[in-house]
Assembly symmetry: C2
């Protein structure tokens, strides 16, 4: 099979590529070709089959048509600008996060009008489609009232994905990813970055800033779980979804305090002492409007799996990013 990954240069894109290369197959079908696309050309990978890498801005005229012209059997659409950037640059957010996705769906439809073609399309949506106030746990039928342009764009793409699937133009499935923890790499400017920073940095002997109180609750999954969701979505019998093509992924609802206790158990008191509490009113205010907990029954019953506690999430990070080694 031929797989196209749009947004292949990002953290999830690179991990997904590695996982697909390691598996060599999806749903029992051998992978013959990987096309890796992103706004900057993704690095190539060592792979037995064909690998094509290309720089492609999905929001540019004709880009989606060119990506789809190779008629990939499976498309992962991960490309988006993040929440903060979409909020700061209204036009860019709509152009990339909404128009880009619409061009992709339309390119697939147009390709199918030439000759029958209904690829599986796995789309990464976000819990940002939900906006406060929330129930104790957000259920599978709770409405989308995003409080960011990013969340609005994701919610619109979900609706388009469903409609194009219902019309038989694509075989789409959208997965609302929890906040990814522990996000590898350096601390970044994302407002949600501290959830990862306070674990990742102390695990290598570095200080980290905690800008909110320890009782803040949020919704998490590891990068490994996220890749698992996407591959499971690619392999799923989508007739089980009916026309409700978008799912909240399972995850772990935990407080910052629970994160810190898990860090203590896995890496000891020395690591915990590296967390410095520096309240930041801007971040405290934003976090208040974010989802805290879900009842993701539908995704669970469809076989999607996440971590059960933060000890597990930390261990995955130590295994996947630190070669099993803790300490600075």
């Amino acid at each position: 099979m031929h797989i196209l990954i749009i947004g292949a240069a990002g953290m999830i894109g690179r991990k997904l590529t590695s996982a697909l290369v390691a598996a060599g197959q999806v749903g029992g079908k051998p992978i013959e070709k990987l096309t890796l696309a992103d706004v900057i050309e993704p690095a190539s990978v060592a792979f037995g089959g064909a690998v094509e890498t290309l720089a492609s801005d999905l929001s540019a005229p004709g880009a989606a048509t060119r990506l789809v012209s190779g008629r990939p059997d499976l498309v992962f659409h991960l490309a988006a600008i993040v929440s903060g950037e979409a909020e700061a640059d209204f036009d860019k957010g709509y152009r990339i996060n909404l128009d880009g996705t619409r061009y992709l769906l339309e390119a697939i439809r147009q390709e199918g009008l030439k000759q029958p073609y209904v690829p599986r399309l796995v789309f990464t949506s976000s819990i940002a489609v939900f906006g406060a106030p929330f129930p104790d746990a957000i259920g599978d039928e709770f409405f989308n009232t995003p409080l960011t342009s990013y969340g609005t764009q994701k919610a619109i793409c979900e609706l388009l994905l469903s409609d194009y699937s219902r019309k038989g133009f694509v075989d789409g499935i959208g997965i609302r990813l929890p906040t990814i923890a522990i996000r590898p790499g350096k601390p970044n400017a994302a407002a949600s970055g501290f959830f990862s920073n306070i674990l990742r940095e102390p695990l290598v002997g570095q200080e980290a800033i905690l800008p909110v109180s320890r009782d803040v609750r949020h919704w998490f999954a590891s990068p490994r779980a996220a890749i698992g969701f996407l591959i499971h979505a690619a392999e799923l019998d989508t007739t089980r979804l009916g026309w409700r093509r978008n799912l909240s992924a399972p995850g772990l609802s935990a407080t910052v305090g629970e994160e810190i206790e898990a860090l203590r158990r896995v890496a000891g008191e020395k690591a915990v002492r590296l967390i410095r509490e520096v309240p930041d009113q801007r971040i405290i205010g934003m976090v208040d409007g974010w989802p805290k907990n879900f009842a993701a029954r539908r995704a669970e019953s469809l076989g999607f799996k996440a971590e059960k506690n933060f000890d597990e999430i930390i261990r995955i990070h130590v295994e996947d990013e630190l070669g099993g080694k803790i300490g600075g």
Copy 2:
């Protein structure tokens, strides 16, 4: 104040225009100018203030910009192609129902970038944003899983309306109208037309076809109630909405059997005998996926009002359309 009505030539548009002309004011502010726009030029109306009528296709480049250039204080956006047409012509549905609305929002935003401008925008959404299976009554936090492209387009416009409002570009409010009964005029090709036909035609001594069983339940409001919703939406203090700018209007949940019993009470057995039952499997199948009942608590608490029974809906039709006279 200056009011722009987009979609002014349709049934709701004409009734809304008449109601505004009769009132002469909205929220205590005198109406100085009415701009009436539609794809075909709307008929003018006798009015003390200025009236401009114009043919304008909202989905054509520049049309929205021209409509907004007069900086109306209040915009009613009623224009859309109907469900059946949007389902049959995928491109046209997205072009008119989605792109047209987006052009309008964007034209308002661009006008505001030149010089501060935040008009009230009242948007007619639809219960088609919901798709079966449903709870017994659809609550205010039930999710949007439309089963038509029309419903998808309306749900997307709702999200855009909220985001443009949250960003301060427009002061938007979307009202999901129930099925309008009794719809005046001739029987039309709409699959939902029979709900009106079986009352309207017998009231003037004409036969009507009932294609579904009498226990089919659906969600209704009179044309008069619908106009009331739109004017109330124009006058409402939108700070009461927070960022949840779209509402399911109140309505009447009733069965076809209840419609017929009301007809019997208002117009007698002779009228009821004019209903001919001719089951139509295509319509029976479609109706099955339509909303049957809502708990529209939020709109009710905000002062929106609908009818309590079909006797009332029939009497409104007799008053507003038949000059108070029943019979053929």
